[in-house]
Amino acid sequence: MELSNDVLMDMHRRMVRIRLFEEAAGRLAEAAKLPGFLHLYVGQEAVASGVCAALTDQDQITSTHRGHGHLVAKGGEFKPMMAELMAKSTGYNKGKGGSMHISNLDVGMFGANGIVGAGAPIAVGAGFANKYRDDGNVAAAFFGDGSTNIGAFHEAANMACALQLPVLFICENNEYGEFTPRDKTMAITDIVDRAAGYGMPGVIVDGMDVVAIHEATVEAKARAVRGDGPSLIEAKTYRFYNHHGVQNLGLKYRTDDEVEVWKQRDPIFTFEDRMIDANNASRDDFDAVWAELRADIEEAIQFAEDSPFPTPDQILVDVYSDTPSATSGAAQ
């Protein structure tokens, strides 16, 4: 597959946007400016970027607790995202969802999810709608290695295959579920070994290589659009920060060496090097991208900080589609 420079630079931009958003979120969390839990995507940028560059706004994705990266990659804007993390009313979710539920339907992002595995069945539903309307769209479910041990993943994978739905299963295998290494929780090494049990093709890709991920996604999408059903893509990747937050809090569950080895394979820097080596772009080109996006982030932080918190009268709004005025039993 020959990718144009536009596509390559677009994927780079997505990765840098994620990196900058996540680093900023990490800093803000450490400054106690972000309430709640924060699961950073740093290190895994190539996966969301490579996948989402193959999708349109009409294609849907579902995500996980580690969801900002996916939303940024799908086209989410910094301002309403940062505002959401800061629990402001200008956030995508009006401050009601936060990091673990961040979503934006305009770009087809069906939500981060606080329940491991729960996004996959929802992606199956979106994929069902696509097939039902025969509109050529596909739904992609992002999920971690650990989540493939939960029932919802299994049911979703099987149902998508049984109904031959246009669904892409994207496993981000970062070798840990929270603080527990993969080999404690499964007897296999490659998640892709599960694909045959559902009757779909499975492929392992280098999760630090945005191009490899993109190519695999393009192929899987073509297959889905043809009506040949789902595929499983396993991206071998790594998160550079802690399970949640930034620091490991002194509780070591992986060695510094291991982290260091993976950091050497930083998906953004290695991509830039390859592009420069191949004379597809210059250092200056990349510096310009970083500079531009850094300014965007600063602006977004400012926007979020300046935004108001939601007011208490919003608590009962949007529970139901037509918020019940006063079902006497229900209202407080």
């Binding site: 069906f110 069945p121 019940p324």
Partner: protein
């Protein structure tokens, strides 16, 4: 035009007519396609609408609900079936943490117009895992609406409303009412969710009851009428949101009330009804709000035990007499 059809046919007709009216409506569930569902609720629908719109699924309740959630957010109007109400437990996360909360968590940007259908209630010697009345659990979850009709007319009108509703609703069919016959108009009609129905007017005591128990309560009321006791029977029909207004108005008139349900008493919906009544009609009550419900055990298999487990007309009668026995204010 009205004619007599069964409760399950009323359900089926509501689904069929809404499917005819709106291509966005589809059904999915176990054995609902070629077979028409184990209760025949979906009989004939796949023949009429094809496999695209009436979908047999794997035995995967989590994915069945997820299918509904995802398709609903994507713009369709799914009807997804969980065969027995007891099995909602298998899909409970998708029901209470996903379907119910998604709109709110998204700050209102999504709508989830899906209907979950299921069969509830006991009386078939189906034992502990196929007989439960779990409505209290789902009524405790903000974001859901819960409907439990007691007769064919309500079934059709309420099911139609569920399908048209822009929120996740759970339509519980009582397994012992499937064959119940009643007058049902042929043309489509909707009964608004959240409106109770006064099944029988009376002045001495109010009985709040739903599904099969509502019918049993009416029988008891008929019985007691011959003794000169006038019983008002209210069927909330929708359990969430609950039409407290109608219930409270009745209690203010009768000053005495019991709640009757098949579920176990402890933390059953009768507790909420009782709590609300004493909150809103404290000064009108001449006796504590009575509750008739199942004892605190799983549903026993043996029909001999189950007959004593389920609230019987005798126990309903006794409870009515007991609240009447108290001297008035």
């Amino acid at each position: 035009m009205s004619r007599k059809i069964a409760y399950v046919q009323a359900f089926n007709e509501a689904v069929r007519q809404e499917m005819q009216a709106n291509d966005d409506v589809f059904c999915a569930g176990e054995d609902i396609g070629a077979f028409g569902g184990v209760f025949q609720s979906y009989a004939g629908l796949q023949k009429e609408f094809g496999e695209r719109r009436v979908v047999d699924t794997p035995i995967s309740e989590q994915a069945i609900i997820g299918l509904g959630v995802g398709a609903a957010v994507a713009g369709l109007r799914p009807i997804v079936d969980i065969m027995f109400m007891d099995f909602i437990a298998v899909a409970f996360d998708q029901i209470i943490n996903q379907a119910a909360k998604l709109k709110y968590m998204f700050g209102g940007s999504a709508t989830v117009p899906m209907t979950i259908t299921t069969g509830g209630g006991g009386g078939l010697s189906a034992a502990a895992q196929h007989s439960q009345s779990l409505e209290a659990l789902i009524c405790h979850i903000p974001g859901l609406k819960v409907v439990y009709p007691s007769n064919p007319y309500d079934m059709k009108g309420l099911m139609t409303s569920c399908i048209r509703e822009n929120n996740p609703t759970i339509m519980i069919k009582h397994k012992r009412l499937l064959g119940m016959q009643g007058d049902v108009p042929e043309e489509p009609y909707a009964i608004p969710l959240g409106k109770a129905n006064i099944l029988r007017e009376g002045t001495d005591v109010t009985v709040v009851s739903w599904a099969k128990m509502a019918n049993d309560s009416v029988d008891v009321a008929d019985q007691l009428a011959s003794e000169g006791i006038s019983v008002e029977v209210i069927d909330p029909r929708t359990m969430q949101p609950l039409d407290t207004e109608t219930i409270v108005a009745s209690v203010k008139k009768t000053n005495r009330v019991i709640v009757v349900h098949e579920a176990v008493r402890f933390a059953g919906l009768g507790a909420e009804v009782a709590a609300q009544i004493q909150e809103e009609a404290f000064d009108y009550l001449d006796a504590p709000v009575g509750r008739v419900a199942a004892p605190f055990s799983p549903v026993p298999f043996s029909p001999v035990l189950e007959a004593h487990y389920q609230p019987s007309p005798d126990r309903i009668t006794e409870a009515i007499r007991s609240v009447l026995a108290r001297p008035g204010a």
